[in-house]
Symmetry: C2
């Protein structure tokens, strides 16, 4: 799939979160919708209403199957939205819900995922304040799609931005990567594999809140579609700095590693739905680690690399002491993963 | 299609804006997502962030075809969102955009509709501040679905609410009904009919702004999915009052009437995308009419009926001096109309 294909038709790889997604955004959406508030390098926006700063984010959820070990499209939609606000240093307050249902969807399944969505919202202390439902004909939808918009209040404890990142900063991840991607993959039962992997789908609010008291936090992002590798590239591209990641330091659960080896996936490119990648002044990295490891959802947190001087690229130090480039995601390993 | 079918599968009629949509919302979404801020009789919500009141609305857009005379899914998505804020008496400020694309969509068509979306946003003075794009496999989408959330500032000139409505109030419509529905129907070219009908798809901000200076404005709504008849029922159900509409007073363009007669549709149930239905203290109805008729988009405005004492029901006075009940929409005349 070459980049010039954007000029003819949209491909699955335009939705993988990697290079072609970035090109679709940079070449089509960004110029056509340009305005001073639109920063397509962010997962949200900070805007002002009558002098009050609010943070907005929106996401479409198309995961297939609709229910998987550890979650479903309903809880995923709330967590994905709450997490985008959390990593922007905002306190989530409200969400809106747009539902697109395919004719023939099992009403009991719709009831289960909306129940789950309501519970996830209540647990994260956000209210679903308005919504809309459309029904499309059989064969014109994938069962159920949700689009959720989140509204948050800016938390002044954080001053985050890609441009604050400096060589010498530490790169941290709050837990093992690839769980969500592998859990959904196994739930599809396409590969004749079964496994005990459960999605990490969860609110990251406790993780981001734990960093509010740590000085030197430059940037946070949840590594969803495109995984850790894609966030590493976003940080590198956005800051103009390089990044060195240490292969052996990146936590990957054994069953996730095993499934990836069998099927030929790289866990660094698989979606997480309850992790945070943070860039922190190297001096304060160990305080941040201690704060995360004190939490149940942070006990596998690790310092996985460092920010280096430019050029913008991501280098992976391998187990054998060598190094290789961690390339930007090109093809489409897992459509409808989130 | 009986109501109890909700217990098994979702049908197209659950998305028509009529009785089954209301039951889906009342029996599934409302109880499962209940919180003090969720009022499913409204097209949006008024919420507070650090003491500042903001108005939120969200809508999914699934219109087929993606481009039609007078508009396309891009301009429709902006106008639909801006109009929901406008009729709530809010000033639209920001929109967010969630895009779900089907693999294989013509990239030139995507570019055209996003260009149109950007122009509609600029014309309505709203900024697209954040977005998200997902790509689903061929056969799992209908080309392109958009979900747009709008954020507005509350305009204190209005004090609107269904509970403010009283017997004796006048019911006004800002222009002819059914244009959007018929324009999209003809654009589908399924019926071997051609016509000159153009969608009324437009911002209603000038119309709502014109009423800001008129006393006694109780309620405004844009009659989209389900048309004028559905809004009449929403007003009647929500206020507990009855409504009498006068058939001959309701403006319907001649080509719209002709297409409806041939195909057996009732224009009162067809979507408008640039009209306002307003309920106004009877004493001030003529001032409101004068304000609307002074505008190019209001020159066909009409007083079409009156609010009566309960029970909640909508009666239509026919041309021949008789009367009949204007029933709530039951079946699904036009899926993917907006």
């Amino acid at each position: 799939m070459k980049s010039q294909d954007l000029t003819t038709h949209i491909s699955l790889a335009h939705g993988n979160g990697g290079r072609l997604t970035r090109e679709l955004v940079d070449e089509l959406f960004a110029p056509l919708l340009a305005n001073p508030l639109l920063d397509t390098r962010q997962d949200g926006a900070c805007v002002s209403v009558n002098g009050t700063e609010i943070v907005l984010t929106t996401d479409g959820f198309t995961v297939q199957p609709l229910e998987f070990p550890g979650g479903d499209i309903g809880s995923l939609a709330v967590h994905g939205t709450v997490n985008d606000l959390a990593v922007m240093g905002a306190t989530p307050l409200y969400v809106t819900l747009s539902v697109i249902v395919e004719e023939g969807l099992d009403a009991a399944q719709l009831r289960r995922v909306i129940t789950s969505l309501g519970r996830a919202a209540a647990a994260a202390d956000v209210s679903v304040v308005t919504g809309d439902t459309k029904v499309v004909r059989r064969g014109e939808g994938g069962g159920l799609y949700l689009s959720v918009t989140g509204v948050g209040a800016r938390n002044k404890a954080f001053d985050l931005g890609l441009t604050h990142i400096k060589p010498g900063d530490a790169v941290l991840v709050s837990g093992a990567v690839g769980d969500h991607g592998v859990a959904v993959l196994l739930a599809r039962e396409e590969f004749g594999l079964r496994g005990e992997v459960v999605s990490d789908c969860a609110s990251v609010l406790p993780l981001t809140a734990a960093l509010a008291a740590i000085p030197g936090v430059r940037f946070m992002r949840d590594p969803t579609r495109g995984g850790l590798a894609t966030v590493a590239h976003e940080i590198s591209h956005g800051s103009g700095c390089g990044m060195r990641l240490v292969y052996d330091a990146i936590p990957v659960r054994e069953p996730v590693r095993a499934v990836c080896e069998i099927l030929g996936y790289d866990p660094f490119y698989l979606a997480c739905e309850g992790r945070v990648v943070a860039v922190i002044d190297g001096e304060h990295a160990s305080s941040a680690m201690a704060a995360w490891r004190a939490l149940p959802q942070g006990r596998d947190a690790a310092i996985i690399g460092t920010v280096t001087a430019g050029p913008a690229r991501v280098v992976l130090e391998t187990s054998l002491g060598g190094e290789r480039m961690l390339e930007e995601l090109e093809d489409d390993p897992l459509p409808r993963i989130c």
